[in-house]
């Protein structure tokens, strides 16, 4: 993706966000709308400036390369799958509980990333899950969702 395209995409995001705030504020009483309206306008102006700046840079430098060397290439499929895995993990914890979701997430992620050998993956995933449990629940007295395993952890 080109330097300019990236900036334009981000500009679309910020303008969209600004528009949401701007339009919503329009229907609010003036005291509540005051501050967000000012800020949303500021976002529009700055977004425009950012695009202009990017445009100038591209013209001057005739396309600024994002990655200078080929070996620094970002592994896009890996990043996307990893983010998706994390999203599924977040979605599942409240449903199946910490002690089921966490080791599974860690094992799948490590296997996918080929981070360690099979035995080490199992060991690290389980030990880390238990460590976090003790840290939060026993030491810091913070709650962790237990989900399916709840009956086993009730005192």
């Amino acid at each position: 993706m080109g330097y300019l395209v990236q900036h334009v995409l981000f500009a679309v995001f910020t303008v969209g966000l600004g528009l949401y705030f701007f339009i919503k504020a329009f229907f609010m009483p003036s005291t509540a709308a005051h501050f967000p309206t000012i800020i949303a306008s500021l976002v529009f102006i700055l977004t425009a400036s950012m695009v202009v700046e990017a445009l100038r840079k591209v013209r001057r430098g005739s396309g600024v390369p994002i990655s200078k060397a080929p070996e620094e290439k970002i592994l896009v499929p890996r990043v996307v799958s990893y983010v998706a895995l994390t999203a599924v993990y977040i979605f599942l914890i409240p449903r199946i509980g910490y002690f089921v979701a966490t080791p599974i997430f860690m094992i799948i992620s490590y296997s996918y990333l080929r981070a360690l050998g099979t035995f080490k993956i199992l060991l690290v995933s389980i030990c880390f899950s238990i460590f976090i449990y003790f840290l939060f629940v026993w030491f810091l007295k913070l709650p962790i969702p237990m989900g399916l395993l709840e009956p086993f952890f009730e005192s």
Binding site: M28, P29, S30, P143, E154, S155
Partner: protein
């Protein structure tokens, strides 16, 4: 045949034993969770720490507090009303007026008090008007005279729109026919601090919160919104004495979700009654300038209902001014 009879016999026995156990093991058999709609260290937490050592003694089980702050308590109370198990093992500390004003003011908040089983109110912190020690208003008469001469000019702080001080001010305005410039702050603290620093003319606040400053002489109390004069500040007149029928404050108590077993409710109410009679509890409350105002079960429910009706009327009157036409 004989074998199967044996099996049936054992099964019947087992069922009997289990049923018996269930019948004998009376509530409570495990820890009671208390949902807190505010952060640890806030007013709601203070009540929890104040009451729970005594409640534990009275009921024979320990309490664990779960803090779910956000939306002025609405997240915790929605959870209590909608998703908490109706077994008496989940309670919540319920604060007025936020408990009612949350859903009166915001249609997005869906719980209401008819979905709760009020157990007991514990403390009520009465409303109070305070000014800085060097304020030109030496007495409440000075203050009211100035307010009459400059309608809508005197700045008075409150703890935020929808809070108890906000409603106290509105009720007082209505009763006296005066008009103030109300300044909302984010909590009681910033409101009295602004009054103490002379940034605003007065703060509508709470006795328990401002008492240390009043005692130290940094703030002067002008009037208090109680039925009778309060013993800690015997020289401060009540609004009633001045001819305005305004009694107001913020109360904190415990509620369960609607639909818990009747015996469980009775056990809980009995525990609060027991606690109220403990001299150590009364002493602990006095030490913290917390004003005990015990109301149990139906009385507490009645109090919440009456307040709800009053807040609704007032909010409907001022709604447009605050939120515009919808």
């Amino acid at each position: 045949m004989r074998k199967s009879r044996w099996i049936v016999g054992i099964l019947v026995l087992l069922v009997c034993v289990m049923a018996g156990q269930a019948a004998f093991a009376e509530y409570p058999t495990k820890q009671i969770t208390v949902l807190q709609g505010f952060k640890a260290g806030g007013g709601s937490d203070t009540l929890a720490q104040l009451t729970q050592p005594f409640l534990e003694k009275a009921i024979g089980q320990s309490f664990i507090n779960q803090y779910i702050p956000g939306a002025t308590g609405a997240i915790a109370w929605t959870q209590l009303a909608k998703t908490a198990k109706k077994d008496g093992y989940t309670l919540s500390i319920t604060n007025t007026p936020m408990l009612q004003t949350n859903y009166i003011m915001n249609p997005e908040i869906t719980y209401n008090i008819s979905e709760l089983e009020p157990i007991a109110n514990v403390v009520t912190d009465p409303g109070i008007i305070v000014v800085a020690k060097d304020s030109p208003y030496k007495t409440v008469e000075d203050f009211l005279k100035a307010a009459k001469e400059n309608p809508g000019k005197l700045t008075v702080g409150n703890s935020g729109v929808g809070g108890d001080d906000f409603f106290t001010t509105l009720i007082f305005e209505k009763a006296s026919g005066l008009k103030f410039q109300m300044i909302p702050f984010e909590g009681d603290g910033p409101s009295w601090q602004a009054a103490m620093g002379g940034k605003i003319d007065a703060s509508f606040n709470n006795l328990g919160i401002t008492y240390p400053q009043i005692k130290a002489g940094n703030l002067r109390a002008l009037a208090v919104f109680t039925e009778n004069r309060y013993e800690l500040i015997p020289d401060v007149p009540t609004a009633k004495e001045l001819g305005y029928n305004v009694v107001s404050g913020s109360s904190r108590g415990y509620s369960a979700p609607k639909g818990i077993p009747a015996e469980t409710r009775d056990t809980l109410i009995a525990a609060f009654k027991k606690m109220a009679e403990m001299p150590e509890f009364v002493k602990a409350c006095n030490d913290r300038a917390s004003i005990i105002d015990m109301k149990f079960g139906d009385d507490y429910a009645k109090m919440l209902k009456e307040q709800e009706a009053a807040f609704k009327i007032i909010w409907d009157e001022v709604k447009e001014q605050y939120q515009g036409k919808k």
